[in-house]
Every structure is written in structure tokens, then in C-alpha cells.
């Protein structure tokens, strides 16, 4: 039983990271029907930028707490900016173009960012210092929980709650939801669609960057291809929860994290990736809208 609980604890930690990244995908898809393949690479970029800022801060002898705050703030702002720039350069010129052309552009952006990371930081792995978050371990009836996991879980939940309130209770949030339903009608209502799109890219990248920093803090190992893997997993999470649906992305992320660890722990580590996709395909066949998702049937 304690093994099971241990796996759940592990799963929730990774699940929160997936959730943060998945929100970025789902927001963009909801409004623009575009799978932003470059999102995962922005998350990776966030981890690298965060590490650089952190090492700089330590080098300037700034105390631990301030260094961490600096890292979060600078990275989040920078990556949000990158997201907006990405949209402006790679996607906006293709608004009127065939959908798949934007997909190819996204793939190109992903390739460019990934290799850009390799060119700037080199191909070797980079290691985050340990104990960025104070590291304490608790043994509760045979289950080991460490403080980093708790911190990540708490912060993620707070962020997601904040986002939920933002989307549902503020004017901009309502504007975002309106644009997701019908861009033209939203324009008619006086909503500045371009501005909304910039907002969702900034917001999605912001959350993704926090996810990237958590990856750095929790797993501590960065390599330039990691964006791809996290991106794919987060995308699956978004679909499981119902793409275009923000609470769905959060739920999907958590579920995927737990599912991943349970499969790896109980069934077989060698097939865990394949089985994750089997789950995805089953969900797509039975309930393609995802757990909380919208209708996808084509109206005749």
C-alpha cells in the first residue's frame, strides 16, 4: 500500500509540471486551433535561462532567497516575451493560411529553438544546483515525501487556481473564452482579437516557463532535446483532459503524471511510453472530447 501511495506522490509532482505545460497548449489550441509544437521547447528554454540567471545571481553573491525570486521573475518575463515574439514571427503571418502550414511553421520553430539552445549552451547536459528549494524529507508511514515535491504541488495549484479565477471571473478572461468560441463573433463584440491572442501566448508561455523551472529544480538535469518529450507528454495531457479546456488541461496533467508512474511501476517500464499512447488512443476512440472536453462531432 505504501508503495502505491509513494507512486501517487511521485505522480502528483510530475503531474503538476505536465499540467502547467499543458495549459499553454490548450489555450493556444482553444483559440487558434493550432498545435503549438514549439511550446515544449520554450519550456526547455525557460529551464536553461533560469539556470543561467541563477548561476549569475550566485556569482554576484546574492542571497539564496533573492536569487531564486530573481530567477523566477526574469525567466517568466523573458519566456512570456519569447512566446509573444514566436506568435508574431511564426504564426501571425499564417493566420489566413492553410492550417497545416502553421503546423509546419510550428515544427520549424521547435527545431530552431531546440538547436538554438544547443548552439548557445552547448550539447552537453547542464546540472541545476541541488537544494534550490530547501530540501527536507519526511517519512510518513513508509512513504517518503520531500519538500521540493510539496513546494511544486502547492505552487502549481495556486497558479492554476489563479488562472481559473482569471479566466472565469475577469473581463479579459471572458474575452479569451469568447474568442475561443468564435473569433469573428468576438470581433463583432468589440474584442481586440489580436490582443487576446498575444495575451494567451504570453500567459501560456508564462505558465510553461514556471513548469520549466520546476523541471530544473526537481530533476536538475537539462539537455537540449528535453522540450520535445515534455511537449509531447503535456500535449497528451491536454487531449486527455479535453483540448481547449483549461481545467481539463490541469486535470489531464495530473492524471497523466499518475498514470505514467503507475504503469512504469506496476506494469513495465519498458513499455510505459507505448502504453501511455494506447491509453490516449482508447480515450480518443471512446471519448475524443477528453474528460472535460467539448463536442467534436461534425454537424451535418
Amino acid at each position: 500500500m505504501e508503495i502505491f501511495l509513494q507512486q501517487i506522490v511521485n505522480g502528483l509532482a510530475i503531474g503538476s509540471i505536465y499540467a502547467l505545460v499543458a495549459i499553454g497548449y490548450t489555450m493556444v489550441y482553444g483559440v487558434m486551433k493550432l498545435i503549438n509544437f514549439a511550446h515544449g521547447d520554450l519550456v526547455a528554454l525557460a529551464a536553461y535561462v533560469g539556470l543561467t540567471v541563477l548561476m549569475q545571481a550566485f556569482g554576484m553573491h546574492i542571497t539564496n532567497l533573492w536569487a531564486i525570486i530573481l530567477m523566477f521573475v526574469i525567466t517568466a518575463l523573458f519566456i512570456s516575451l519569447c512566446g509573444v515574439v514566436l506568435e508574431r514571427l511564426a504564426y501571425r503571418p499564417l493566420r489566413k493560411a492553410p492550417r497545416l502550414s502553421a503546423v509546419v511553421s510550428a515544427l520549424g520553430a521547435s527545431l530552431a529553438i531546440e538547436n538554438g539552445i544547443m548552439l548557445i549552451w552547448g550539447p552537453n547536459i547542464k546540472v541545476f544546483p541541488s537544494n534550490v528549494f530547501p530540501n527536507m524529507r519526511w517519512h510518513i508511514s513508509g512513504v517518503v515525501i520531500n519538500s521540493t515535491q510539496i513546494a511544486i504541488l502547492l505552487l502549481s495549484v495556486i497558479l492554476m487556481l489563479a488562472l481559473y479565477i482569471f479566466i472565469n471571473k475577469t473581463k479579459i478572461g471572458t474575452a479569451i473564452r469568447a474568442t475561443a468560441i468564435d473569433q469573428d463573433a468576438a470581433k463583432l463584440m468589440g474584442i481586440n482579437v489580436n490582443g487576446i491572442i498575444i495575451a494567451i501566448f504570453a500567459l501560456g508561455s508564462f505558465l510553461g516557463s514556471i513548469g520549466g523551472l520546476f523541471i530544473g529544480i526537481y530533476y536538475r538535469e537539462l539537455y537540449f532535446q528535453m522540450g520535445w518529450i515534455y511537449g509531447l507528454n503535456a500535449f497528451i495531457a491536454a487531449i486527455i483532459g479535453g483540448i481547449g479546456n483549461i481545467p481539463g488541461a490541469m486535470l489531464g496533467g495530473m492524471l497523466l503524471g499518475i498514470f505514467n508512474v503507475l504503469i512504469a511501476g506496476y506494469v513495465s517500464n519498458s513499455w510505459s511510453e507505448a502504453l501511455t499512447f494506447v491509453l490516449l488512443i482508447i480515450i480518443l476512440i471512446i471519448k475524443p472530447t477528453g474528460i472535460l472536453g467539448e463536442r467534436v462531432a461534425e454537424k451535418v
Partner: protein, 377 residues
Amino acid sequence: MKLKNLLWVVVSLVFVFVSSSAFAAGVIKIGVQAPITGSFANEGQGIDNAVKMLVAQQNAKGGLLGKKLEVVTCDDEGTAVGGAICARKLVNNGVVAVIGSYSSTPTESAEPIYARAGVLQTSDATADSLTKHGYWTFFRNSCPNSAEATFTADFLVKDKHFKRIVVLSDYSSYSTDLADATIAALKKIGGNVIYYGKIQAGSQNFTPILTKIKSMNPDVIYFCGYYTDGGLIRAQEVSLGIKAAFVGGDSNDNPEFFKLAGKASNGVYMINVPRPDILPYPLAKEFLKDYQARYHMMPPSIWTLFNADGLRAIMYAIEKTKTTDTKKLAAFLHNLKDFPGITGPITFTKDGERAGSRFMAYEIYNNNQYKVVYKED
């Protein structure tokens, strides 16, 4: 549309003719076939860097046989397709020998091409099949898995008397081959392997499989993958409260391992060829020092060092036989015995296999200090 078509055709033909021009004599060309881009980019670039550095050093001494050495690099992206294309390119370029590739697949797809052209090839790739084809041009510069496997088995069972052994590998051919060989060697001397699992390299999240392993109560976890995962596995093993010892195969031995594992590095056992700072040869220390000075980073792994040794052996052969006739060079290399190397004395068998390097087991203390705890004669 018509004109554009014609233009494409003409442009491509021109490109092709231009790039197929070979260079004049007066230089000795050394080829590098490695994954400069792609998932093994760090290893590929490491090999390229090491070769370029050694060549520059040799040129500073006047080159070989009165000629300067020149490096021609081809990026095979770590794929079979890239391997074959690079092989043909390098052969066409008139290289005497090729260092490459890093992994088995592009090495094996390039092998017959080099063999037919009489170009020497040395690689760190570990697939057994590479030396089974009988190609006289091929020399493996890394220590074969079988030697490490028997040593590891002896260490785990005869020396440490571990009773419940867990073996972990990743999916690469190097790692799975080493795991299979070690398990076979363990079985032969009565070792008890309670579980063999594989992890996805780079997945970072090893807690699920470690949690599962915890419930099996092992007394040792032997990991034969890379330090990029090994360091994390060790750190996560300790944070989960697993009491088993950790033994790492030779690809774990890298300074980054200790960064990743942090305090958990203490008590780790590493199995590797004699460390450069234990070897009495100044060459080894010098190599690392020079690499660090020139490239501002350490070589990505021990595999860079193996390949560097491959080149050094070839350069030595050229120097001693006073020729670049590859048949004579191959004959010389097949008889090479105990040539001092960064990774230990180099001896090649008649199959091009690297003969028995001495392995050692080290224990880590003080976060990154080594002490020898086991060796065989």
C-alpha cells in the same frame, strides 16, 4: 514553372560537381564520422573536438612523415543513412583513416564501405557484430563489454558478496549488451539477479521504477547506462530511502555524475578502466588538461577518450611504419601490444577487437574522490 524546374536541376548539378572535387596531395587526411547533430550531439562533438585537438598538437610537432594532417568531418546524425553517406564522402575525400562513429548503427552501415575502399576505421561502438564480419580495416577502440561484464560479476559476487542484485540499463545497444553480458557472467558464477529493468534515457523520472525496486529489497543496484541518468538514479534512490548499494558501469564515470548525485555520490562504486590520474602516463592527464583549456569544458564522457586513443594508435602506426599504406598500417595495428593509451594500454587482436584492458572498481568518498577497492591481475 518550367524555368524554375530547369533552374533547380542546373543548380543541383552544379552543386554536386563542385562538392565532389577532391583536394591535392601533400597532406594526410583523417576523417571523423560522428553525430555532430541529433540526440548524441554532445558525444559527436566531443569526438570531433578530441580529434581536431590531437591533430593540431601533432601538426605543431611537424605533422607525420613530413606532411601536415588535415581533419575532414562528416555529420552522420547518428543514423544508418548518415553513416553510409558519410562513409562514401570520406572515402571519396581520400582519407587514410576514419574515427567513427559513436554508436553502433552508423558504424556498422559505414563499415563495409570503408573495408572495400581500404580505409582504416576505429570506433568506440560496442555491438559484437562489428568485429565479426572480418573486415581488416576495423579496430574497436573501446573495451569490449565481455571484459567489463566478467569483471563486474566477479566484483559483485566474489568480492562484495551481494545476494540480491538488480540490473538496470537503458535502451541503447551499448547498455543492453553490457547488461546482457553481465547477467550471463553473473549467472555463471552463481550470482542472484532478482530483476532486470530498462529506463528511458533522459526521462529523468526514475522514482516509479525505483519505488518498485524498493519493494524487492535488493542489496545492490547495478546500472550500466550513462552518467546523465546514473547520477539522477542514485540521487533518487537515496531520497526514496532505498538501502541498496549503487554500482555504476564505465559510462557513469564522469564529473557530471557527482554534480547530479550530490551528497548521494558517497559510497557509490564505479567500474572503469584505470582513471587517467592513476595512470602513470602524463599523456592522460595532459589530454584532459589540454581539452579543458582548448574547449572550456571536459570531454562529455569516457567514449571521447577511447576514440582519442584510436587516433593515437593510428598516428603511432603511421609514424612507425613510415607509410600511409593502409594494408601495412593494419598489419602493424593488429600486432600492436601495450601501446600506452589514455584509457590504458592498447592491444588489438587479429579481429580488430581491443584486448583485455584492466578494469578496476572504485569507491567514491568526499563527494568526488576515488579510492581503488578491487582489481584483478
